[in-house]
Symmetry: C3
Amino acid sequence: MATGTLISLKSRRHAELIPITGEVKESIPPGFNGVCVLFCRHTTAGLTVNENADPDVAHDVLAELDRLVPWNNPRFRHGEGNSAAHVKSSLTGPSLTVPVQDGKLVLGTWQDIYFCEFDGPRSRTVALTLIGA
Amino acid sequence: MATGTLISLKSRRHAELIPITGEVKESIPPGFNGVCVLFCRHTTAGLTVNENADPDVAHDVLAELDRLVPWNNPRFRHGEGNSAAHVKSSLTGPSLTVPVQDGKLVLGTWQDIYFCEFDGPRSRTVALTLIGA
Amino acid sequence: MATGTLISLKSRRHAELIPITGEVKESIPPGFNGVCVLFCRHTTAGLTVNENADPDVAHDVLAELDRLVPWNNPRFRHGEGNSAAHVKSSLTGPSLTVPVQDGKLVLGTWQDIYFCEFDGPRSRTVALTLIGA
């Protein structure tokens, strides 16, 4: 059932939270019951769920992650210079599992699903798998 | 199979880790094999698994998250003033998937499942979905 | 289907990221379609996905987590003295869900699955559950 769906997206900034709830919804057939598993296939990006109403929330989440894990850190060894993005990737995590009832994501009122770009701009993919209950 | 179960809870403090292992266990039928998917439907809360024996661990986890992401930060833009809770929500994450064997959660000896309240007190719900293996 | 698989490992350092992608692959039967759910059964360890090419990335992730959550913190109350490991466990998280297509993990080119040891050396187990799509 719908294994193999890939959501493709292009980030436009170095760091941004890109809502993908719409793309996820389009992949769910009417009446489906179970869970939707999302998996980020990149090591300098992640997935999260957060507020969909005020865009300042996404701004604040990104800014706070930047304050916690600054881009420039003389102790980082990785030659590509993007270790901060790798750390943020592990902090947000690569997989999300969202329940689905009667074809609808069981999100709270204020929740959107976001792709977290930490080292863009790049072309990215998220694997989507539906598992019936 | 058991899609649509909601665990309701009321937090009593501004921030606390509330064990929900008991409520989760009650939702699992005898002999069930598969996984139990938990999903937090709020953007200022999260789910985690941590030690069940010494309550000082929950205290230390909350205190350290507070030190990392202080409530008052003049750089936060979000008008509600609770951006720190949104950040902690993304750090702990909204979904957990716990294996179930013969009707029992496959938790380690010292593990409990916790609802993480970061902006309480509030009424909260966690969606529980059982997926058979 | 393959519930009950346990991956056993022994960490050798106080903190390290141990790649377990090979062990996970060996547990997936040819042609399987669905997801592989991994669950860490310990409260001073976690699971993550990050770069498999340059070992400096794992070093940088661990070092940055150490900088964020230092081992010695006079405010920690937990008598065992390993609260930092408990905090890192909640930051990385206990569960990962990785899609599987035609018997293969749908990982990105640069992704490996890692067991995160935060209070070793110890003997550890990760529960692996396959759920068909």
